[in-house]
Structures are given as C-alpha cells and as structure tokens.
C-alpha cells in the first residue's frame, strides 16, 4: 500500500506555496523563484480503478460545485463530458483485446493533466489568468480570466470548459488549496482502492514502476507510465495496461503536444502582433486625448449583474 499523505494539523499555518513560487504566468513574465519547490504529481492507476466515481463526487463536494442531474444515453459516463462544474470524469471503454481474446473494461479518470509545458497557459492572452507554480500545479485565476476560450484550443487534452453563466474557464486545480496546506487532492482522498495516489513526482514515478512490474507479471507486456514528453511531462500521470495505445482509453492522445497554432502565436506572430498592438495603443491614446474616456452606464451595470446571477 502506498502510504497516503497523513492528515496535517488542523492548526492554521502559512501556505506552503504562493505567488512567490510562480514559474509561469499567462501573457506576462515572472521572475522565477531562486529555488523550485519539489514537484508534485497525482498518479492514476487505471488498472486499479473500479470506476466508482467517488473521485467525481469528492471533486464536486470539495469545490462546492453543483452539476445538473442529466439523463442516461446508453453508457455509464455521467455527465457525458467535462463541464464547467465537472472537473473530473470517469470515461468507460469496452475494449476487446484481439491478442488475448479477452474483454477489458478500461476506466479512465479524465481531467487536467497539469502539463509541465502547459498549452492553456501559453495560449492565454489574459495576463495572470493562468499560472503555474514551481511544484507543477497549473491553476486558473478566475478574476483575471476573460473567457476567450483560447485555453481550450491550447490544451492538447481538451480539458478546460467555458461557463455559460460567467464566461470563465474552469478545470481541475489539483486541489491547489488542499495541497497548499499539506493535504492531497480530494479525489485521491476519496479513492477506495488507491487507484489515485499523490506525492512528489519522483515518488509517483517509483510507485508507478512497482505497479508496472506487477502488470507485466500478469501478461500486460506494454504496461507503462503515461507522462508524455510532448508537453515535457505532466503532473497527473497514468499507469496504463497498454501504454503503447493510449488512444484506446477514451481517446487519450498518443503523443500530445501544444498545437502549432499556439506555438506560432507565441512565436513570430507574437512580435508582429505586439508591434501592431503598440501601434493601436498609440492610436487609442491619441483618441483618448481627443475624445475622452468611455463611461460605464447604469444600464451596463445592470446587464452585467444579470449575466453573473446564479453563479456562486
């Protein structure tokens, strides 16, 4: 058994990391901290997952999210996709293994992978709306989010979802608030079979080796760790029985990488764009000098209130 993260003291104490530990900040530069924190990771062992959805419920409960009661469309997956309220989702695949003739029911917990090289952050045009801490956690800062949806396009795993209520992007935070006080993520805490474990990235890799050895002894010769190099590794990793075919696990990308559009956007285009922006800014400033500032009318305020209603 992997020794779980012990319950920390209930006495209040300082957060283990914060602003000073940011290594990336969307659309802006940060001074990297002198010393990087130990990288953390969540390891999801698909071979131990019974698909009970306790993690899904724990995520709703901890993050105070309310999802709609949906309908059955002929599968066990509920809801049917990630949503602004469902940050993690069990995806079920019935896989007929041609080699062994056996049926396998592959159950993968989907959610943010917390990439070391986060495509969402790279694509994000809103300064500080997406941040990456030196322990590897990628988090969305909602009061800075402009709801443009670029993070969705930038994500190689199709994870963020834009809320129709407040037009902001949502995804798993790796329970950044729990980790900051020395706890593991809520999903890991709720998992009855240790299909989800949490610790330092090194510990998780070691634990994965132990699991892969067991799987290989049971005939899964391609068992392996999913820690894709295309995004420089992830802070949520999978142990897969068939690591040679990640796509059979409900479309887990074989070789995820950040879309070339995003790379281009952040490359040459960026500088061309910046020049253009500079020019427009200058024109804007000139316009301001000539005609004065725009004012928010009472009606604008009212509309804004109506739009944000119903979101706690």
């Amino acid at each position: 058994m992997f020794t779980p993260v012990p319950n920390p003291t209930t006495n209040p104490g300082p957060a283990k990391f914060g602003e000073q530990d940011l290594i990336r900040r969307s659309a802006s530069t940060v001074t990297p901290p002198a010393k990087r924190q130990t990288e953390v990771a969540k390891l999801i062992d698909v071979s131990k997952c019974i698909g009970c959805k306790a993690c899904q419920v724990a995520c709703l409960e901890w993050n105070n999210l309310t999802e709609e009661v949906g309908i059955n469309v002929g599968v066990y997956d509920n809801p049917h996709d990630l949503t602004p309220n469902t940050w993690t989702l069990m995806r079920y695949t019935e896989y007929e293994n041609a080699e062994t003739g056996n049926l396998e029911w592959l159950i993968r917990k989907d959610g943010c992978m917390h990439c070391e090289d986060p495509g969402c952050l790279k694509a994000c045009p809103a300064p500080g709306a997406i941040v990456q801490y030196s322990n590897g956690i990628v988090d969305f800062v909602h009061d800075k989010c402009i709801g443009c949806g670029y993070c969705v396009k930038g994500c190689p795993f199709n994870i963020p979802r834009i809320s129709k209520v407040d037009a902001k992007a949502y995804k798993c935070t790796l329970c950044v608030d729990r980790v900051a006080v020395g706890q593991g993520p809520a999903c890991q805490k709720a998992c009855p079979t240790q299909a989800i474990v949490f610790g330092t990235k090194d510990e998780m890799k070691q634990w994965a080796d132990h699991r892969i050895k067991d799987l290989k002894s049971r005939g899964f010769k391609n068992a392996g760790l999913y820690d894709p190099p295309g995004v420089k590794g992830t802070h949520v990793m999978y142990v897969l029985q068939h690591n040679d075919k990640p796509q059979i696990y409900a479309g887990l990308p074989n070789n995820p990488s950040i879309s070339p559009v995003v790379e281009l956007w952040k490359g040459a285009t960026k500088y061309a764009g910046l020049t253009a922006i500079g020019a427009f800014a200058a024109i804007g400033f000139l316009h301001h000098l000539l005609t004065g500032a725009n004012r928010v009318s009472a009606e604008d305020e009212k509309n804004a209130e109506r739009l944000t209603e119903g979101r706690s």
Partner: protein, 808 residues
C-alpha cells in the same frame, strides 16, 4: 465473514462469485487490490455480467444466472477426482469420515423422505450412524462406501466440465481455469478467499449455493486460515449488526431461537437444544445455550424473570410459523394485517412483486414510516403517472411519517461484515423535529404500556412484565442499552472455590461468565465483552498490527470474543503446528494456543486431547454433509430458478426448489419461458446506495436514470438502439428504461440454444432526485429460498421490446 475485510490481503487467490465487490463494496474491495498489488494474488470473477469486479480480474468466467450449484458442484468434483484436496484437513477437521445411516438415499435429484403433498422432507434419515456408546461411527481411512467422503464422490461425479458448459453456458476452458486455481490452494501453503453476496443468496436455492462454497473451502483446507474463508459481504454498513441483534423472524438476539408452539415450557425449548457431543471429548459450545437464553430472559424481564416462572419464558410469543417479509405482505394482501411500521424500510421498492405490495399496503388501516428520508413506500398512495399508477381516492390507509435522525446525527455502534463493532460519534445535530429511533420506540412503548395498564388486552402480562427500568423511560441512554446487550453480574459471581470473580453490578467481560441460574443478564451473548468492565471496546482506535497480517487486535471489537478469524484453531495441524510457515497463525506453543488472534478454542487444551477445531459443532469438526440442518438436502443438488429459460437438465423431475414455500397467488404469477424467454437479474450500482441516494443530488448526477443492460446480440435481434427507451415486462409487471447495449453481456449457449440475459439496476424509484422509474421489483417473484425465505431476485424471466421514438 468467517475472516475479515483486512484479512483478504493475505489471500493468494481471490474468488468473487455471487457478488460484485467492486460495485457494491468498493471500500472493502481495496483489500482485493492490495492482495493483488502487494502479494501477487490472482483474482477470478464468475458472474453473468462482465462487471466492475471482472474489470479488475485476472480471469473472468461467465455463468447463466441461477445455475451456480452446477458450476460449484463441478469444482467439488474436480477437486475430488483429481485428488486436489487438503487430505489431513479433510480427514481430521471435517465430517468426511462419518458414516451415514443406511436408510439415507438420493434419487433423481430427491433425497430420502420427500413428501410432495407437503413440499417438505422428513429429514430423519439424514443422520449419522451411531455406535452403542452413543457416538457417531467414523472410518478414518475414508474408504467405507457409506462414509461422507465416499458419498460425496458418488454424489458429485456427474458434475463434469461438459455439464457446466451445457447448463451454465460457461466455456469448458474458462471453467477449468477456475477449478485449477481453486485446486492450487488445497495444500496449506496457499489460501483462497471466497467473496459472495446477494448474487448467491437471492435464489430459491441460495443457501445451497453457499453450502457449495463452504464445502470447496473445507476440501481445500481454507477455513480458519489467514487469507481464506467464506466471506459474506453484507449490503449495508450495519446489516450484520441488525442480523445479530435479532431482526431474523425466528430468532432473538445472538442467533438464539424464538420459541415455537411446540415448546410450551422453557425446558421443552432447551431440551431440544442440548447439543450433546457426537464424538468423544468435543467442546460442543452450544451446550451453553441455556446460559445465554436465561441471561437474555433476565435482560428482557428483569426482576419479573424468576426461577419459579421459568425466567419469564411464558411471556415470549410462541411461533406458529415464520413471519418473513414475503409472508407478512401476503397476509397484508389477504387483508389480515391492520398496521405496518416501516423502520428504515422501503418495502414498496425492496419487496418482490411490487404490484402485490402496493395492493397489500392499500389494505392497511395505517402505515408508519420511520425514516430520515421520504420513501417511495410512504408515498405509495400518491399517483406518479405510469411509475405509481394509483387512485388516491380509493386508498384509505392512513400514513404517518416520523422523521428519524440519520446515522451521523446520533452516537452508537455499527457492526460491519467482519463482525467488527465500531463506534460512531455524533457528527451533527438532528434536523428540525427528527428524533432518534430509540426515542420514538421508547415513546411508543411507554404509551402502549399505559394503555394496556388502563384497558388491558391480549398479551397484557407480557407487555407489563418487560423490564423498562431506564433512568428516563422516554430516553433510554446508549450506555444503558449497551450494558443490556453486554450483560452484567446480578449478584457476586463466585468460582468453584468461592472466590468472587465478578462483583454484583459489574459488566461481564465475556460470555464465558454467563450463568443459567438467573445470576447474570445480557441479551446478546455474542457481543458480551464489547462493553465489558474496562469500557467501550468499540471505541478503540489502535491501528497497530504487529503480525502484519491485518489483525488489528486493538481496533474496535470483533464478535465473538474479539476474534478476527473464526475457527482459527484449524490454521494448525492436529499436532498444533502451523500447516506451513506461509500460513502460520494460531498454534500450540507447548503450553497454550497462541498467535496474533484470540484462539477459537479453549486456550489451554493440548492438541493430544484431539478436541476438534470446530467447537460450535457437536461433532467438533465441520460439516461437508449437513445432516438434517437444511430444508432442501444434506448435499446440494442442481435446482433451477422457479422461472427458468430451460428445464432442469440435470434432474428433469425437479421444478425449482422442491421444498420452497410457494403461496398460491405467487405460483399463478410465474411466467413460462415461451412467453418470457429472457433471464432477468437485478443488482445495485456503485453510484447509489439502495433506494436512499436517489434522494441525494450528487449521487443522482452520477447515475441519473434507470437503465437496462443488454448484449449487442439481443439488441440486434430486437432492433434496440443504444440509449433508446425499452419496455421490460414479466408475468407480474413492467418497467421502462434506457438501453445500455454492452459487450459486457453475452448470450449463453444452454443445451445448444442461445439464452439471453438482461441486467436491471435496482436503485431507481419515483421519489428523489433521479429520473422517475417504476420499482424494479414490479418484475420479480415473491418466492424465496427454502431455508432463509430470501426472494429470488437474481433469476427470473422477462421479455423486452424497444419503445418507438427518438433516441434521447
């Protein structure tokens, strides 16, 4: 469970059949994943569906629902014919050597003594042959043709792998792999655990399914050792507790019997339960029955229980039959019942044949629902369209809903499948006017007693004799109730030398201190010690485990006597040495029995006294052959469900279980396979807990709507599309739900013909947050097991058709 949840990690082979632990017991299932990951254990799952447990398995074998006895009997045959048994264990620790009466016979599926008109057996021939000394005759060479071992070989010979393929639809190679993995543990070096649940019990022959499992484990020597056992996984967190405390229809707390009409006096009841040893030197612990019974009566009637009045025995009701829930609802349906109190019970959903249940509830004068949540039963009178189509104007039943606190809002103990009693502290205050069950029942009792005092009535003496001397009669405290369960010394208890061993008023440390002269009380002997002189053992939270075997001796209290593995004397050979270093557990150290657990044995009896390890049995050994203790036979035989797609292919004369009780209208409500060719089976989903969590929003999100699981082949045959609404109907009722077309269900080839099966989750209803659905038990039949009356929910006949309309 004979063993414990934690002990599953010691298994080398885990066999899940008749249950789906990953689905219904996800937290306990962690010990299976632990055995696999850390011990390299192999997991095999035998089930009609490739379920969540199968998804975790190293080997999966399909089986047609209701055909388990043939499968398991074939495993027994495999072990016997291939000589894959733990010989010394079988010889010394089972009744394999016992000689059976000459009159005992078995013919075409029926045992000697069958009376067709009474649908019952005269079991007198199902007995050992006794010698002039009064003890059973044995042949320790196991060669006498009338010894249990030889009778077994003969009885099971016809259950071949080919028969399994023909009757169960299990491919021969998949069956053989199961049998070989079982056989790999028949040596004292490796252990197999069997985990089962309602997939075995909910058949008209359910108890015999479990008999088969016990026999397999005894042949392999897997009882009493770490990582072994026959482990019943209970379906509620405290269902073990409520069974212990006596909600069985014919039992008082601690599995003692309620008197019957044939037992007018205490002596007449006790003399039938003398439990004289059947072989020399045996403990036969049930000889203490009298002490437990008198102590129970002393708790029940206090000072009103005296030697002169047989400790109040005459106050106990004398049964004229059994009153299980099927019988209760049949009586209600006949209009013979005035009122029903449902305490944490939703029978409209839970009882078979819901249409009959609804009619039965409509004939009551009053119905009381004591529950923390609104139940479908409490709203049975309300029209919910096709899901509960009644005319409220025609129902006169008065319904009272009494809100009760939930488990988190009161303190008390919970007993889990491991027989482990654990304390739960109160976590929150009750909502609004809800009260604890104890307070409601106390209030009811005190009011009723006052009415009896004033107006008299049938049974007045008994009601007035009940000892209700709680400090506050309206609020018996948890402390007082626990002391009653545990038992106390009522006078100074002295040993043979006259020394006081337990002072008057002190709580007892063990049921060994109970006496039959009225000097002790204690209404549940098996729990004695959990609230002993040193305090509340259920509150202990020491998670140290020095042996590393998952014993956790100082965590909570495991009945009986804080024992974690039952029959653990059998973990050592007759000389008291462990069978192997790998399975070392309890052993004789030259002076006493020792090891990480509490020995299930008198700790100072040396091995040479040859006292058998199964001390509860009068034989001192376990029973491969159960004498007359089961209604439907001393050995299992293949019986089909009452509704089956095929006739009994093994014993064509048998229809269902020949001794199961069948009420007239239930027999008429049985469907034939020509009209209902498909096997239906019900089960729960891990996302829900019974009928409770459909009222919990987050659970409703996880599984929002009733569905039916069916194979791709059946879907093609019937033109059913994925996610489409379908109608499923039996002779008794119908339900509608979404089609989940899956590769995880495959048709079976039974006797050369394809047989389809559909899976029907049971958690949905018309009250709660999930989409409305009809009770699934509208489909099921109210025929139960002949020993336990557990309804046959797991195998019945249905038909299915698509409902036209767009895919939702």
């Amino acid at each position: 469970m004979t063993n414990s949840w934690m002990d599953i990690k010691n298994a080398d082979v885990v066999w899940i059949m008749g249950g789906n632990a990953a689905e219904a017991h996800p937290c306990g299932f962690k010990w299976v994943t632990e055995a696999k990951a850390e011990r390299g254990a192999k997991l095999m799952v035998v089930d009609p569906r490739f379920n969540r447990s199968a998804a975790m398995a190293d080997h999966y074998a399909p089986i047609r629902s209701g055909s388990d006895i043939t499968f398991l009997s074939a495993v027994i045959n495999h072990l016997l014919t291939n000589d894959k048994i733990h010989k010394e264990y079988v010889r010394h620790y089972t009744n394999a050597a016992f000689i059976v009466k000459d009159e005992y016979e078995f013919n075409e599926g029926l045992f000697s003594g069958y009376d067709e008109s009474k649908r019952s057996y005269d079991r007198s021939t199902w007995e050992y042959k006794f010698g002039p000394d009064g003890f059973a005759i044995r042949d320790m060479t196991l060669s006498d043709p009338r010894c249990v071992f030889q009778l077994m070989k003969k009885h099971f010979a016809q259950y071949t792998p080919e028969l399994v393929q023909r009757v169960c639809g299990t491919p021969k190679d998949k069956f053989l792999k199961v049998a070989e993995w079982v056989a790999s543990t028949a040596n004292g070096e490796r252990a197999m655990t069997i985990m089962y649940a309602l997939g075995w019990t909910q058949h008209s022959h359910g108890a015999q399914n479990i008999r088969c499992a016990a026999m397999i484990q005894l042949l392999c020597g897997n009882i009493g050792i770490p990582g072994g056992g026959v482990n019943a996984l209970r379906g509620h967190s405290n269902v073990q507790g409520i069974t212990d405390v006596g909600t069985l229809t014919a039992a008082i707390p601690g599995y003692l019997a309620l008197p019957t009409e044939q037992e007018p006096t205490l002596e007449s009841h006790l003399s039938k339960r003398a439990f004289k040893p059947l072989t020399p030197n045996q403990t036969s612990y049930w000889q203490n029955y009298r002490k437990f019974y008198v102590s129970f009566l002393k708790t029940q009637f206090g000072a009103n229980a005296t030697k002169e009045n047989e400790f109040g025995y005459n106050y106990l009701p004398k049964l004229d039959g059994i009153y299980d829930c099927i019988k209760m609802f049949d009586l209600m349906h006949q209009g013979k019942t005035n009122g029903l109190i449902c305490q944490g019970f939703n029978p409209l959903m839970a009882i078979p044949n819901s249409n009959k249940s609804r009619e039965a509830l409509s004939k009551l004068k009053f119905l009381v629902s004591m529950d923390p949540i609104e139940t479908d039963t409490a709203r049975f009178w309300e029209n919910h369209g096709e899901f509960n189509n009644v005319d409220p104007a025609k129902i006169q039943t008065e319904v009272f809903m009494l809100p009760v606190t939930s488990f988190a809002e009161e303190e008390g103990s919970v007993t889990n499948s491991s027989r482990l009693i654990q304390w739960r502290w109160k976590a929150a205050d009750p909502y609004y006017e809800s009260k604890t069950d104890i307070d409601i029942l106390a209030d009811l009792f005190v009011r009723m007693r006052k009415m009896y005092e004033k107006d008299g009535g049938k049974g007045k003496d008994a009601i007035l004799a009940v000892d209700w001397s709680y400090k506050d009669p309206l609020h018996p405290s948890v402390d007082e109730l626990q002391a009653e369960l545990n038992g106390r010394a009522l006078v100074d208890l002295k040993d043979a030398e006259g020394k006081v061993v337990r002072a008057a008023g002190q709580r007892l440390a063990s049921f060994g201190e109970m006496r039959d002269d009225g000097s002790t009380d204690g209404c549940m002997w098996i729990y004695t010690g959990f609230y002993g002189p040193t305090g509340n053992m259920a509150q202990r939270r020491d998670n140290s485990d020095p042996s590393g075997l998952g014993v956790y001796q100082n965590w909570g209290f495991s009945w009986p006597a804080n024992r974690r593995i039952q029959y653990n004397r059998a973990s050592a050979d007759p000389d008291g040495k462990p069978w192997s270093e790998a399975k070392k557990y309890m052993y004789w150290n030259g002076e006493r029995w020792t090891g990480p657990d509490v020995p299930d044995y008198v700790p100072t009896i040396p091995p040479e006294r040859a006292v058998g390890p199964f001390i509860m049995n009068a034989e001192g050994v376990s029973r491969l052959w159960v004498r007359g203790l089961m209604a439907d036979g001393p050995f299992p035989v293949h019986m089909e469900p009452f509704e089956s797609p095929v006739p009994n292919l093994v014993f064509p004369k048998l229809k269902g279980n020949p001794v199961a009780r069948v009420f007239k209208n239930d027999m008429e409500a049985l469907g034939a396979s020509k009209d209902f060719p498909i096997v239906g089976t019900t089960y729960r989903l891990t996302e829900h807990f019974h009928y409770w969590t459909k009222s919990v929003h987050a659970n409703a999100v996880m599984q929002p709507e009733f569905f039916v699981e069916l194979s791709e082949e059946l879907a093609r045959e019937k033109g059913i599309r994925h996610g489409q609404m379908v109608r499923i109907w039996s002779k008794r009722g119908e339900v509608k739900g979404k089609a989940v077309v899956t590769k995880r269900i495959k048709p079976f080839m039974i006797d050369g013909k394809p047989v389809h099966q559909v899976g029907l989750p049971l958690n949905f209803g018309f009250i709660g947050e999930t989409k409305k659905a009809s009770p699934i038990n509208g489909l099921t039949s109210a025929i139960g097991d002949s020993n336990s009356q557990t309804p046959e929910y797991k195998a019945f006949l249905v038909n299915i058709e698509p409902i036209a309309g767009p895919v939702a």
